[in-house]
């Protein structure tokens, strides 16, 4: 049965149903309802809700809980995610799975609290220092937030790496009908690497990211990047909407993809051949879907709530085979379908 939930609350409930019983947070707008929901629900499932002293402490509590082998999560909004960068880098360097939620708001600095997609670079290129990647999932509906949370936990466990849900204030605050998975339906893998006490039955496990011998560190990083290649081959996700015959292909994710979809529908009503590629994974980037669209499209138009942070990735993915244009708003402004349609018409 479908229920009506805010995106933030749906993320929280879906995480619990994905077997995450350890949540560590710190208040920040516009992710507020997520932590509040966790504080209500976790005691009901004998889980842990802990309001940490900072985002830094919260991500390191996640690091500790994940080291112990349980599914753990934290959530924040843009300025808070900057603070989590340290812990995310350490988790990547220690091969620890976890889920981090960023309900993005305008930046830089304290920025604003309205919806934004200006943390794309941070999420996909530089969540923290060092050679590493994290999985980045970009839901565009409340239902997809629910579906991607359990997928994010499963994929993070499978590849032993952190995963981020890159949402925004619009998706977090809006309500849509959702169908939740059954409670207790999560499939929790055994984690033999975890630091949970060896009980005298094995050698000690060490969760660590320090390697003072450069040869050793290089080797470990290279092994990790081989794993990333497997992720790139197997884990790309994208939706292709009316792209088969499209002359103009929009590329947009998350909230801006909702606007782009409306613009595509308006364009089709006018008889214009317009489609949309919607990346669902931002890392790995869905190069396969983009190349399918690039094989016949005359123009790409990237639509974002940022100054165009995804544009370079689109160009690289299709090797600049077709011109890639950009339209975006930033600072918490949301583009309208009419604005996007005007951009499309200018290209035709």
């Amino acid at each position: 049965m479908k229920v009506l939930m805010k995106g933030n609350e749906a993320l929280a409930e879906a995480a619990i149903r994905a077997g995450c019983h350890h949540f560590f947070g710190y208040p920040i707008t516009p992710q507020t309802e997520l932590a509040a929901y966790m504080s209500k629900r976790m005691p009901q499932v004998n889980g842990t809700y802990l309001q940490a002293e900072s985002e830094i402490a919260a991500i390191n509590m996640v690091l500790g809980a994940s080291s112990a082998g349980v599914r753990a999560m934290t959530s924040s909004s843009s300025p808070g995610v900057s603070l989590k960068g340290e812990g995310i880098s350490y988790m990547a360097g220690s091969d620890l799975p976890a889920v981090i939620i960023n309900v993005q708001r305008g930046g830089p600095g304290l920025g604003g609290i309205q919806p934004s997609q200006a943390d794309y670079w941070q999420a996909t290129k530089a969540t923290g220092h060092g050679d590493f990647q994290i999985l980045v999932f970009a839901p565009s509906t409340v239902q997809e937030m629910v579906d991607l949370i359990s997928h994010a936990f499963d994929t993070a466990d499978k590849y032993r790496m952190p995963a981020m849900i890159l949402a925004d204030g619009m998706l977090g605050q809006m309500m849509e009908p959702v169908e939740l998975p059954e409670e207790g339906s999560a499939n929790l893998p055994e984690k033999e690497w975890a630091a949970k006490g060896h009980g005298g039955k094995r050698a000690h496990n060490i969760i660590n990211s320090l390697y003072l011998t450069p040869e050793k560190l290089e080797q470990l990083v290279k092994e990790r990047f081989e794993r990333y290649e497997t992720v790139k081959r197997n884990e790309q996700m994208a939706e292709e909407y009316l792209t088969e015959d499209a002359d103009v292909v929009l590329v947009a994710y998350g909230a801006s993809s909702r606007v782009a979809r409306s613009a595509v529908n308006k364009a089709r009503e006018k008889g214009l051949k317009v489609g949309l590629v919607r990346p669902i994974t931002l890392w790995p980037f869905p190069t396969d879907a983009l190349n399918r669209a690039a094989s016949h499209a005359k123009n790409f138009l990237v639509v974002e709530m940022s100054m165009g942070q995804m544009v370079d990735d689109v160009k690289l993915a299709i090797d600049c085979k077709v011109p890639v244009h950009f339209y975006g708003r930033t600072g918490g402004m949301i583009p309208t379908p009419a604005d996007v349609l005007a951009q499309i018409e200018a290209l035709l």
Partner: protein
């Protein structure tokens, strides 16, 4: 032949990297001995911090996690909340615990996290080569206080046990040192008690160990012990600062 003294089974055979005269080795032994005597090595998880002791994960035989700088008690909180039946301890230096990790320390303490904290106070940053620590003494010469710590510009040293003992979440806080056999025995008992408290669910327990850093102090091991006795102990009085017999957990 009777064995009168041996290495605890809870320490690995890896050769320690610590400098001659450094007291880390003694404290490692005391921690390992407590785990052995209490029979909890199999369910212990230690959290190594950033500093000279960062590689203590190679020396303790229990499961180990290495935390980002200053975050050991947040990591320990995550571990303990995930596995309340395990025995979780952190091993931290003064820069880690009382500078970059002050917030994590104070809040783990005030939450009354049921963990054991071993705090090495040697009044200097050792691993990075002898910079001023939050616990460096007034007038103390370090790499970054070449004219001596000027309290007008660099402020005063932090007295951790005194500060934490004001918090309701702290069950046990004791300052010890390991400069002679008598004090090593006191330290051994304090560390064991800090673990025993956790097993009994009493709440946050911290043992601060005044330690030496002959290399960065520019002293011989013997001179370093003398410097500790003449300078550190007067500023950081030894003793029990808090001991809540019934624990802080309701």
């Amino acid at each position: 032949m009777a064995i009168v003294f041996q290495k605890p089974s809870t320490l690995t055979d890896a050769p320690m990297h610590y400098c001659p005269g450094c007291t880390h080795g003694i404290v490692h032994r005391l921690v390992a001995q407590a785990l052995e005597e209490l029979g909890v090595e199999g369910k212990a998880v230690g959290v190594a911090s950033v500093g000279c002791s960062v590689m203590c994960y190679d020396y303790f035989t229990c499961d180990m996690v290495q935390a980002p700088h200053g975050r050991a008690q947040a990591v320990a909180t995550g571990l303990k909340r995930a596995r309340p039946d395990n025995v979780i301890f952190t091993y931290q230096g003064d820069g880690d615990l009382a500078a970059i990790g002050t917030a994590e320390t104070v809040h783990a303490a005030t939450r009354g996290e049921n963990i054991t904290v071993i705090f090495i106070n040697n009044a200097i940053y050792g691993m990075t080569g002898g910079q001023m620590a939050p616990t460096s003494l007034p007038g103390q010469i370090t790499q970054t206080t070449p004219y001596g710590r000027d309290t007008n510009t660099a402020g005063y040293p932090v007295r951790v046990c005194e500060m934490l003992s004001t918090l309701s979440g702290v069950a046990f806080a004791q300052r010890v040192t390991v400069d002679n056999v008598k004090n090593v025995n006191i330290a051994r008992k304090a560390i064991k008690k800090a673990f025993q408290n956790q097993i009994e669910g009493k709440g946050y327990s911290i043992v601060e160990v005044l330690s030496t850093c002959p290399t960065n102090w520019g002293l011989s091991p013997v001179e370093a012990l003398k410097w500790l006795e003449d300078n550190m102990i007067p500023y950081y009085p030894l003793g029990v600062y808090k001991d809540v017999e019934e624990g802080v957990k309701k």
